[in-house]
């Protein structure tokens, strides 16, 4: 027995690249939303760790040496891509894990199958603010986009652990069914507010507003990543009044003081919506996140 154990340990040490049939796939994700998708599809056959949590701004995560260890032991790494999570790169490079390096079997850029919005077509530079070269990266905020993300994840999990393909595909189909009925419910809830004009703090919500037929007429940030100036605030207040905007959406980590001042001067209401799983208590899964956001937004637009 002892010898068998030693042999198993040796095999585990010598063949770290192989995922044995009885092993769980180790998956590391850049964000908590991706981790939730992996959990949904992978079930108890995967062990998932997210490198960031929902209360953090995914643009600005400081890579920590301890995160290297999560990436080092991962069979699969799932990232947002589109330059939102550039910080992941230094972790991948420090990990010495060929499986999750670009081109490796476990590397997955979840944006691959997404129809991107706001892809710049001309020259871009920092005078335009923090513009992303490959388009607006907040694509998971359209629940329909969860489908291609899940599709990429299930494909990757099946490739990495073929013996569990049936299990992964079953979970995937089941999740899609739940997601479809949830989307139908959310669309129904948002139907009365189609065409409503809103303001957002950062340009994070175009995928969300496109899905639920809302119109963004301005942002608190004059350009992505640029803090609001007094003159911008004055013109935004004027615009909110003119366009009869009821709601200003902001993420929990942005400057509430400035947004509340704009709301007070314009008569609009600030609605704090988490953009990611875990960003607020109760939004612990992707489905709960939308449940919370749709409920909160519909309630605010109704008033």
């Amino acid at each position: 027995m002892k010898n068998k154990l030693s042999l198993a340990l040796m095999m585990g040490y010598l063949l770290p690249g192989l995922v044995l049939a009885t092993d769980k796939l180790e998956v590391v994700t850049a964000t908590s939303d991706l981790a939730d998708f992996v959990k949904a599809v992978g079930g108890d056959k995967v062990k998932v760790v997210s490198l960031s949590n929902g209360s953090q701004d995914p643009h600005f995560i400081e890579p920590r040496p301890s995160m290297v260890m999560q990436v080092k032991k991962a069979d699969v790494l799932v990232r947002i891509g589109m330059d939102l999570d550039l910080w992941v790169q230094s972790l991948i490079e420090a990990s010495r894990n060929s499986k999750v390096m670009y081109g490796g079997p476990g590397y997955l850029d979840a944006s691959r199958k997404i129809e991107k919005l706001e892809v710049p077509t001309g020259k871009i530079d920092a005078s335009m603010g923090d513009i992303h070269l490959y388009g607006n990266p907040h694509y998971w905020l359209d629940p329909e986009n969860a489908k291609p993300i899940l599709g990429s994840i299930v494909k990757k999990l099946c490739e990495m652990l073929p013996s569990e393909s049936e299990y992964f595909n079953k979970n995937y189909e089941e999740y899609l069914r739940i997601l479809d009925s949830a989307i139908a419910k959310w669309e129904e809830e948002m139907k009365p507010y189609a065409g409503a004009k809103i303001v957002t703090y950062h340009n994070s919500w175009p995928y969300f507003t496109k899905r639920f037929r809302l119109e963004i007429i301005g942002c608190v940030e004059p350009k992505p990543g640029i803090p609001p100036t007094p003159s911008h605030i004055v013109s935004l207040v004027k615009k909110i009044k003119e366009e009869k905007v009821k709601v200003i959406i902001m993420e929990p980590y942005f400057n509430l003081k400035v947004t509340e001042k704009i709301a007070k001067d314009s008569g609009a209401k600030v609605v704090v919506l988490p953009p990611s799983v875990g960003g607020i208590q109760g939004a612990n899964t992707y489905l709960h996140l939308f449940e919370y956001n749709i409920g909160k937004l519909a309630e605010s637009l109704q008033d």
């Binding site: 260890m69 550039l86 230094s90 420090a94 390096m101």
Partner: protein, 362 residues
């Protein structure tokens, strides 16, 4: 006419292929693969413009706003799991600029197991701050102990560095490196620069770097480093030197944009000369706090003995406030007081960045 039509056709074809390349679904290229046309590396320029006001009338940079350095970075992948990073710089030396290869190295990200390799010219992995480029540091100047033991530009060498990520449940990396460091590499004929000490000739370094996550919001990093070589004026002084260092960094992220950083390094120099052995100490403590996405402030205390036979020590205090416009562009104000010289100094620094610029995990 026919030629015009052909040109228009070719241009339309070229433009349409550009547009089609941007639409639809595709994965995001990595840093180092993002230039356009698509085979260009990431190209960036970092500028460092610094003004200094000081009560020290002997300071050559007194009451001047000067371009300290312009750095051109070319970064990209050269092979699967292999990248090259080149940083060319124009450094100020007195009243003129000197071109320099600041760093130029190829990284084999994985050789076998946890082993990686870097070869070329680079800032040596010694302690926490030596390997960090000036424009990335949270203050305008270099901690005194690094200047006293490694020179104004820190310890930079040409050679090879092996890194091994130890098979432990926590992060622990050991680096072993061999370098050739030019003696008096920044001294130019006719340019008056204060005498400085550093390591030179064949220099061997090692570093053990470990880090522990103390929950989701804090991290403790501990490192030990060692370097052995000759003195930078060894032809004249016939000296050999060893430097040992310990570093400890604690970071706490109480919320999305807030961060507390407490960084400390202590260095011990042993310099053997024909007339005897010198032993010198030095350290710095830095406490920084980021208030929000755009502002941070810090305090640094420096204490260091010199590396020369006539023993002397300097200690100083600095207060720093920085406004971050973007990830690479910032404006910084720093005040410093030197207790030995009873001198005051203030810096105003603008660091600007154009283009995609990245550094490895530091």
């Amino acid at each position: 006419m026919c030629n015009h039509s052909s040109v228009i056709f070719i241009l339309s074809f070229f433009l349409s292929s550009l547009v089609s390349a941007q639409e639809g679904t595709k994965a995001t290229p990595l840093p180092g693969m993002r230039g356009t046309p698509s085979n260009l590396p990431d190209i960036s320029v970092i500028g460092d413009i610094t003004g200094k006001v000081t009560s020290d009338k002997n300071d050559l940079n007194r009451n001047k706003i000067l371009v300290r350095e312009i750095e051109l970075a070319l970064q990209g992948y050269i092979y699967p799991e292999m990248r090259a990073d080149v940083f060319l710089a124009m450094h100020r030396h007195g009243d003129h600029f000197e071109p320099e290869i600041c760093e130029a190295y190829a990284s084999f990200l994985k050789i076998v197991g946890g082993l990686s390799l870097k070869v070329g010219k680079m800032h040596v992995d010694f302690g926490k701050i030596n390997k960090v480029h000036q424009h990335e540091r949270p203050y305008v100047d270099q901690p005194l102990v690094l200047t006293n033991f490694f020179g104004n530009h820190g310890l930079v060498g040409e050679g090879v560095s092996l890194g091994y990520l130890l098979p432990l449940p926590f992060f622990a990396q050991i680096d072993a490196s061999a370098w050739r460091v030019a003696s008096e590499q920044h001294h130019e004929e006719g340019v008056e620069e204060p005498e400085e000490f550093g390591l030179a000739d064949e220099v061997y370094t090692t570093r053990l770097w470990t880090s522990f996550s103390l929950g989701e919001t804090s991290e403790l990093e501990i490192g030990a480093s060692g370097a052995s070589g000759k003195g930078s004026h060894y032809l004249e002084h016939q000296d050999e030197a060893r430097v040992f260092g310990l570093d400890l960094t604690y970071k706490l992220w109480p919320s999305a944009y807030k961060r507390l950083a407490f960084q400390n390094e202590v260095l011990h120099l042993i310099r053997r000369t024909p007339v005897g052995e010198l032993k010198r100490w030095g350290f710095y403590n830095y406490l920084g706090f980021q208030f929000n996405k755009y502002w941070d402030a810090g305090l640094r205390y420096d204490w260091s003995e010199n590396a020369f036979p006539e023993k002397g020590k300097t200690n100083s205090f600095s207060g720093i406030i920085t406004s971050h416009l973007t990830e690479t562009t910032k404006i910084r104000l720093q005040y410093g007081y030197n207790f030995e010289l009873n001198s005051h100094e203030a810096f105003l620094q603008l660091v600007f960045g154009i283009g995609p610029h990245s550094h490895p995990l530091q």
